[in-house]
């Protein structure tokens, strides 16, 4: 059995580098973003994902970040199980009123300095669901947001770019503060 698996692994090769299927331009961008993230952070980035009411479309694309093409773990970025271990909250959905308290508590439980990236059209502006008796609308209506990633849902690369932008901005800000 194990030989079959090994054979399949060898045959598959390393998609992250080879990636024959995506086309050169997109692949170069993945590599550049990956290098930049490592350069900026110099350490692992821990992300706590919070679905605050999404349709689960954004979750599908966030999960795709873990596939061999985007290889999030290979960059030292990982999803952690608790906000107490997280540097960054990745929040999706229009924030449902039923999730408002849970989202605030998750935010409060995340140690400073913390970053928040709102993913998807709903997270950016409430999307098609808007604000209602059941929906608080965009994530920024409930907790402070550093970066938004529009799209319905945004493709994995856009989400990765949003994470990078939030981290980069924070680092620039703290550099200015120390001047």
């Amino acid at each position: 059995m194990i030989w079959k698996a090994v054979k399949q692994i060898v045959r598959t090769g390393i998609c992250t580098e080879a990636a024959p299927d995506i086309g050169d331009a997109a692949q170069a961008e993945v590599a550049r973003i990956q290098a930049e993230l490592l350069g900026i952070l110099g350490q692992a980035l821990s992300i706590r994902e919070v679905d605050a009411g999404s349709c689960n479309g954004c979750e599908l694309e966030i999960n795709a970040l873990g596939n061999p093409y985007y290889n999030l773990e290979g960059l030292g970025i990982r999803f952690v199980a608790s906000p107490r271990h997280a540097d960054l909250l990745l929040v999706t959905g229009p924030v449902s009123r039923n999730m408002e308290t849970a989202l605030k508590r998750t935010y409060d439980a995340t140690p400073e300095p913390k970053l928040v990236v709102a993913v998807g059209d709903c997270g950016c502006d409430g999307g098609i669901f808007g604000e209602s008796y059941a929906s608080c609308g965009r994530v920024a209506n409930v907790i402070p947001v550093d970066e938004v990633v529009p799209g319905c849902p945004p493709p994995p690369l856009a989400i990765l770019r949003g994470i990078l932008k939030a981290v980069r901005r924070r680092i620039a800000e703290s550099a200015n503060a120390h001047k």
Binding site: M1, K4, A5, Q8, I9, T12, C15, D21, I22, R48, E49, V50, D51, A52, G53, S54, C55, N56, G57, C58, E59, L60, E61, I62, N63, A64, G66, N67, P68, Y69, F79, A81, S82, P83, G93, P94, S96, R97, N98, M99, E100, T101, A102, T106, G127, I128, F129, G130, S132, Y133, A134, S135, C152, P153, P155
Partner: protein
């Protein structure tokens, strides 16, 4: 048309699948449930409806719940019953169905929260979707869509979970924010040591007012919202909504449009099954499976992006047809994708099958025996893995399935392994169907005009999504009220299957819950609405 064993005439709704409708009395309401149950039928959906009268001219967008609706499935097709509500002691009431169909319980609780209708005689009347976000005497689906009041949220309610007492019994509370990248919900386990005695779910966290929002959208644009009820089933929902709209407007879509919808539906099925097969391997500590299947899923989604312009094919199904028409080169790309994927999945199937450690985790875990599945109304993919042999594509094949017979995938073990096996079988079957569809795709238009009717109208859509059957019941006002959506109920198969998961975990160890949960992979958003 009649339900077997019930003297009541139903009118056919114009839809590609057999669906009938009738107004009923409280007596018929209950005898219909008993008759369906006796005939081996199932409860498909239950919701509080609106007041349209297709024969009359007017209906105001009335702020009272007009009727309670139930949809049943028997061998002949689906039956939609509307029961005018009775007012009793100042409350709108209807007879309880949960005594006949257990799966009615949560749907009745949701209807009480949203429309203020009470099931008389029901055992469990705890709130379901309202966690305190809106006052208990405010009913979101009874508000006029043009004059929605600002609702002040109330205090979060303390939910009365059922407690299990006994020596060494303790509780594990999980959620709503889960450890993985998944949707929010709360699970309360009562355990002894590692063994789960009881699980109680509390859902509704992603309730974002979809059904009220529906009444604010023009009928010709609401398919976009329908396609966002559960993102993983966007094609199924958009199709079910469009089918309902086309049914209400007596529209027959061009054959090529129907074939392309089915092509996207099967691609959605494959995409989700690939994701699940990888995640199931991972939850059984076989990370190789996740790496391989997530790679295949990514390739597949890129194919959708290249041909349909969207990785999940959102908004590609539209009223009257579809919005994308693949050319020859794109068709060839999709066929090539099927060929290469099939080869890879065969390799992975062999590896999964012969991996003793993996099979040890899969086999007999999270078992739902056919008898229990039937009693609880387990449906869709999970149902088929427990011998519940229903698949709309086979039972009532509409275009294009009428030309492409589907081999139903079933299993009788009802464990995680069975749900894995059904997924593998369905991937191979869908690949076969996709190739046939692309080969035999009829020429012609991909969309036709949808003309809204003068009179108020009712329509229904019913589609076998990857998780199970998606059902949409649509009631449109007449031209005098700008053909507004009076009521649109969107039903996810997760309503039926979530309660069964509570049974599937019993007697298993806590550590197997993620695996069992994943093997069902139910939608939170789809049932929370």
């Amino acid at each position: 048309m009649q339900i077997p064993g019930l003297e009541l005439e139903f009118d056919a709704l114009p839809a590609p699948v057999p669906i009938w409708h009738a107004q009923v009395t409280p007596q018929h309401w209950q005898s219909a449930a008993t008759a369906v149950h006796a005939a081996g039928g199932r409860l498909l959906a239950l919701w509080a409806g609106s007041s349209i009268d297709p024969s009359g001219t007017d209906t105001s967008l009335a702020p009272v719940p007009a009727c309670m609706c139930a949809a049943y499935v028997v061998l002949e097709g689906a039956f939609w019953l509307s029961l005018p509500l009775l007012k009793k002691e100042g409350r709108w009431v209807y007879p309880d169905l949960s005594a006949v169909f257990l799966s009615a319980t949560r749907m009745q609780r949701a209807a009480a929260d949203l429309s203020g209708v009470q099931a008389q005689g029901a055992q469990d009347v705890r709130p379901w979707l309202n966690h305190g976000a809106w006052p208990v005497d405010h009913y979101p689906l009874q508000q006029h869509p043009d004059g929605l009041a600002v609702v002040a949220p109330t205090e979060l309610q303390n939910y009365p979970f059922v407690h299990v007492d006994g020596d060494g019994v303790h509780e594990i509370a999980v959620g709503p924010v889960h450890a993985g990248v998944i949707e929010p919900g709360h699970f309360r386990f009562s355990v002894v040591g590692e063994k789960v005695l009881r699980l109680e779910q509390r859902l509704g966290y992603t309730h974002k007012g979809i059904e009220q929002r529906m009444t604010q959208l023009p009928a010709m644009e609401a398919h976009r919202l329908a396609g966002r009820v559960s993102g993983d089933s966007t094609v199924a929902y958009a199709w079910a909504y469009c089918m309902a709209l086309e049914s209400a407007t007596h529209t027959v879509i061009p054959p090529r449009a129907a074939w392309l919808r089915a092509l996207m539906l099967e691609r959605e099925r494959v995409a989700n099954h690939l994701g699940d097969l990888g995640a199931l391997g991972n939850d059984a500590a076989f990370a190789f499976g996740l790496a391989q299947f997530s790679r295949l899923r990514e390739n597949w989604l890129r194919g959708s992006q290249a041909v349909f312009g969207h990785r999940l094919m959102m908004d590609c199904v539209r009223p009257g047809g579809v919005s994308v028409d693949p050319d020859r080169a794109q068709s060839n790309l999709l066929i090539d994708q099927c060929d290469s994927l099939e080869k890879e999945v065969h390799t992975l199937f062999d590896i999964y099958e012969s991996h003793a450690g993996l099979q040890d985790r899969f086999v007999t875990t999270g078992r739902v025996l056919p008898e229990l599945a039937s009693r609880l109304g387990l449906t869709g993919l999970a149902g088929r893995a427990s011998s519940q042999t229903w698949d709309l594509r086979c039972d009532h094949p509409f275009v294009p399935y009428s030309d492409l017979p589907v081999a139903m995938a079933t299993h009788h073990n009802g464990d995680v392994a069975a749900r894995v096996a059904v997924r593998f079988d369905e991937v191979f079957e869908s690949l076969r169907l996709i190739r046939r569809m692309l080969g035999d795709l009829p020429a012609g238009d991909i969309v036709c005009p949808v003309v809204l009717t003068q009179q108020a109208a009712r329509g229904a859509g019913w589609v076998e999504g990857w998780r199970g059957e998606v059902f949409v019941a649509l009631e449109l006002a007449g031209a005098n009220l700008a053909n507004r959506i009076e009521r649109c109920h969107l039903h996810d198969p997760s309503w039926q299957n979530w309660p069964v998961l509570e049974h599937a975990i019993m007697g298993n160890i806590v550590a197997d819950f993620p695996l069992i949960n994943k093997s069902f992979n139910l939608s939170y958003s789809g049932q929370d609405l």
